[in-house]
C-alpha cells in the first residue's frame, strides 16, 4: 500500500493549481483505469485530485453546429444521448462496444481518452516495459504481442491504444479542450496522441497539470450514415483486435466524402488518411475499398504473433465500407 493524499476539487482552476504544485499527482475521474494501476503498482501517485464534482457533465449543441461533450460525461450517458445516437451513430456504437455496463456508468469522456495500453507487460511490474519504466526495454517485441500494434510502432514500443470511443472521435475530427496552468487551449484529437518513438512513456501531448474540460465534435451531416465495427476474441467485454470507425458519403455511386479510423492496430487511434485519399471522388466499389485498405496497411510492420491483424484489418475495413454503401442503396 502506497500512501497518497486525496483532494476534492470544487472548481477547475483550483484543480489545476493543486496539481501544478504536485509533480507526482494525478487527476481522478471515473478511476476505472487509474485505480487498477494503483492496485497493480503500475502507478504510485502521491496526490489524487478528484475532479468528478466539476461542472463538465453536459452535452450541448454548439452555435455553428456540432456538439460539445463535457469531460465528465459518463460513457453510458454519452452512448444513450439522443443527438449522439441520431447524428453520430458510430460514436454511440463505439461506446457501447467498450467495457461493461458498470464500467461505462463510471468511466468519463476525458478519462476514456487518457486510458493506458492493456499490453500485459505494461501492467506487470515484474517485467521490463519502456512505457512504464523508460529505458528498461520492451518485453513484448520478443514475447507475447498478439494484441499489439502493426502500424506506428517503434523499436521501443509496440503497444496499442485500448479506447473504442477515441477511434470514433478521431474519425469525427474531434477537438480536445484543455485547461492548464498557462490557460486554455484546444488540440485536434488527431494531434493529441503521440506515436511512441523513443519516448513511449508519453501517450499524449498534454503537459503535467493540464485538465481536459470538453471534447467538441464538428457538425458532419453524412455521419448519420456511419458505423463502428469491432472484432474481438469474444462477443462482449473484450478489447478490440481490430476495429473500424467509418462514415461514408456516396452520391450517384461516387464517394463524395469519407472518414475512417482504425482501432487495435496502433499505439494511437489511427486515422486512415491514406485510405480516405484513395476513396474520395472515385466510384464506390469493392475493388476500390480493397485498394484503399491496401494503401493504409502498406506500411504495416507486423510481428509473428500479430501478423493476422493485417488481413483482419483489411477485411474489416472493406466489410464496413460495403455495409455503409449497401445501407444507402436500400434506403
Amino acid at each position: 500500500m502506497n500512501p497518497f493524499r486525496y483532494e476534492r476539487a470544487s472548481d477547475a482552476a483550483s484543480a489545476v493549481t493543486l496539481l501544478a504544485g504536485a509533480p507526482n499527482g494525478v487527476f481522478l475521474a471515473g478511476g476505472t483505469n487509474l485505480v487498477d494501476h494503483m492496485k497493480l503498482g503500475v502507478r504510485q501517485p502521491d496526490l489524487l485530485v478528484d475532479i468528478t464534482r466539476l461542472p463538465y457533465d453536459r452535452i450541448e449543441s454548439l452555435p455553428g453546429g456540432g456538439i460539445r461533450i463535457g469531460a465528465m460525461v459518463r460513457n453510458s450517458d454519452l452512448a444513450a444521448d439522443r443527438t449522439i445516437r441520431a447524428h453520430y451513430p458510430l460514436l454511440a456504437q463505439a461506446l457501447l462496444a467498450g467495457a461493461s455496463g458498470q464500467l461505462r456508468n463510471l468511466a468519463t469522456t476525458g478519462g476514456n481518452l487518457l486510458q493506458r495500453t492493456r499490453c500485459v507487460y505494461f501492467q506487470d511490474i515484474s517485467k521490463p516495459c519502456n512505457k512504464r519504466v523508460p529505458g528498461s526495454g520492451c518485453s513484448a517485441r520478443e514475447g507475447y504481442h498478439r494484441e499489439l500494434a502493426i502500424l506506428g510502432t517503434s523499436e521501443a514500443c509496440i503497444a496499442t491504444h485500448p479506447s473504442d470511443m477515441a477511434v470514433a472521435m478521431i474519425a469525427l475530427d474531434a477537438i480536445v479542450r484543455v485547461l492548464g496552468p498557462q490557460g486554455e487551449r484546444t488540440i485536434p484529437l488527431v494531434d493529441f496522441y503521440r506515436l511512441p518513438g523513443d519516448e513511449p512513456q508519453r501517450d499524449t501531448v498534454l503537459s503535467h497539470g493540464e485538465l481536459i474540460t470538453a471534447v467538441d465534435l464538428p457538425a458532419l451531416p453524412f455521419a448519420t450514415r456511419s458505423h463502428y465495427r469491432k472484432v474481438r476474441d469474444r462477443a462482449s467485454y473484450a478489447f478490440a483486435l481490430v476495429s473500424v470507425a467509418a462514415a461514408l458519403d456516396v452520391a450517384d455511386g461516387v464517394v463524395r466524402d469519407v472518414r475512417i479510423a482504425l482501432g487495435g492496430v496502433a499505439p494511437v487511434p489511427w486515422r486512415a488518411t491514406k485510405a480516405e485519399a484513395v476513396l474520395r471522388g472515385k466510384p464506390a466499389t469493392e475493388a476500390l475499398f480493397r485498394q484503399a485498405a491496401d494503401a493504409e496497411l502498406a506500411g504495416a510492420q507486423p510481428l509473428p504473433g500479430n501478423a493476422f491483424k493485417v488481413p483482419l484489418a483489411r477485411s474489416t475495413l472493406v466489410r464496413t465500407l460495403l455495409d455503409l454503401t449497401e445501407e444507402r442503396n436500400r434506403s
Partner: protein
C-alpha cells in the same frame, strides 16, 4: 438492465440506435447481462428467466396504461 431497455437505451447488438423501444430478444439479454454475470459457465436458463421477468413487467404495465386512458 430492464429499466435501460424500457428507456430505449440501445446496446451494441441493437440494430436501430434511434428506436424508442428495445425488444429484449436473446441477443439483447446476453449482451446486457455481460458484466453482470460470469459467462464462463453461464447456466442456460438465465436467459429464459430474464425474458420471463421482462414479459411479466410488460404485462403488469399494460393494464395500468389501459386503465389510465
Amino acid at each position: 438492465m430492464l429499466h435501460e431497455a424500457e428507456a430505449g437505451w440501445p446496446s451494441v447488438v441493437s440494430a436501430d440506435l434511434t428506436a424508442d423501444h428495445i425488444t429484449l430478444d436473446d441477443d439483447e439479454i446476453r449482451e446486457r447481462m455481460s458484466g453482470n454475470l460470469c459467462r464462463c459457465a453461464a447456466y442456460a436458463n438465465i436467459v429464459p428467466a430474464i425474458r420471463e421477468v421482462a414479459q411479466q413487467a410488460l404485462r403488469t404495465q399494460q393494464p395500468e396504461q389501459e386503465a389510465r386512458r
